[in-house]
């Protein structure tokens, strides 16, 4: 019998996994591993460690799924286990990047204006826009990789996964004020990095 994750309510999934239905657990893994991967790729740089930690995350989920009380979405609960597992790993290995985002740097209005004008050009010149986007994607990837891991994860959860503040708070355990402040600092750092490092001759 093929089981589709979206056909099952969280409560039903938990019940069936608790009753020893391993195929349902496999469905849960497949339906949440995308979100878990987003967190792990931002927090754990080493591929081998990611492989071990990903397995560790789901074994923890399996052991503790009886304790899940449906206070949030099951995927959010799984993501919180992934985040905490990665965070503990980083702390243990002393790999947490310091929060050294500089807010003093000012890219200057001329660069800002050129960047904004290129964005406005998207609608008028498609080939130019594609070229610009491709280069920008590379610079943005570099910029995100230079952020502290927690900031990069928050940016991904909010802007890529489009999770709400409540869901991100549930995953990370950060208070609302701290979460919003981290996101603000991370966005500002991305803007500064991109404006200062983008090939100026292309602007």
């Amino acid at each position: 019998m093929r089981i589709m994750a979206n056909q099952l309510e969280d409560r039903e999934i938990v019940k069936r996994i608790t009753n020893g239905e391993d195929p349902v657990f496999a469905v849960l893994i497949r339906s949440t591993e995308g979100l878990v991967a987003q967190i792990m790729f931002k927090m754990v740089p080493n591929a081998e460690d990611r492989k071990d930690l990903a397995q560790d995350v789901y074994l923890k989920v399996y052991r503790h799924i009886r304790d899940f009380r449906c206070h949030c979405k099951l995927s959010t609960w799984v993501a919180s286990i992934a985040y905490n597992t990665c965070y503990n790993y980083l702390e243990k290995k002393k790999l947490i990047l310091p929060d050294n985002l500089s807010t003093a740097e000012n890219p200057g209005n001329d660069l800002l204006e050129k960047m904004a004008n290129r964005f406005i050009d998207f609608s008028t010149n498609e080939s130019l826009a594609n070229l610009f986007r491709s280069e920008l994607a590379d610079v943005l990837e570099q910029a995100i990789s230079r952020l502290p891991q927690v900031y990069a994860t928050l940016i991904t959860l909010f802007h890529y996964q489009e999770l709400s503040y409540e869901e991100i708070m549930e995953i990370t355990g950060l208070p609302e004020g701290t979460l919003k402040n981290y996101l603000f600092r991370a966005r500002k750092a991305l803007k500064t990095y991109i404006l200062l490092n983008y090939k100026q001759e292309d602007l």
């Binding site: 496999a26 990611r50 397995q55 920008l136 994607a137 943005l140 802007h159 489009e162 803007k191």
Partner: protein, 152 residues
């Protein structure tokens, strides 16, 4: 036009959710080139983050994890032995009592069938209750042991 530019925080909030921003922000941004550029830059960054390719594990995570899941536990041989011992003990005790009191017991069964039935039912219920209690205590102890194992 209001002279004061929007703060960086306000610019970000405006770029994220223009529709629900205060009217005076919109009025200012519509008339201020500097703030328009800032908003446009943030919108570009947010747009590009959404366009990033999805990351994925390059191995079959579900297969690896499911292979490591603990197999369902069969009832332990020690538990089975304990239950069988109890049943044997009870059967032997019952047999011994029946043998010693065989004359009176037979008369009792024949003469007082209703009382006999009540005794049998009460004894059976008592026995089942005790058995259930032992089983629940056993499960609780196993759970505590599993929990201790998890913490290590």
């Amino acid at each position: 036009m209001s002279e004061a530019h929007l703060s960086e925080k306000e610019i970000q909030a405006f770029a994220i959710d223009q529709a629900h921003s205060p009217v005076h922000w919109t009025t200012h941004v519509n008339q201020c080139i500097t703030c328009q550029h800032s908003v446009a830059t943030y919108k570009l960054i947010f747009h590009e983050i959404k366009q990033q390719p999805a990351v994925a594990f390059d191995f079959d995570l579900a297969k690896l994890v499911v292979a490591q899941l603990p197999k369902p536990k069969a009832i332990g041989s020690s538990v089975l032995l304990m239950v069988l011992s109890w049943l044997t003990f009870l059967a032997l005790s019952f047999g011994a009592v029946c043998y010693v009191l065989r004359g009176q017991f037979f008369n009792f069964i024949v003469t007082e069938p209703l009382i006999n039935l009540l005794i049998v039912i009460s004894a059976s219920l008592l026995f089942l209750g005790l058995l259930l209690d032992v089983w629940m205590k056993f499960q609780e102890k196993i759970k505590v042991i599993d929990h201790i194992k998890l913490q290590h």
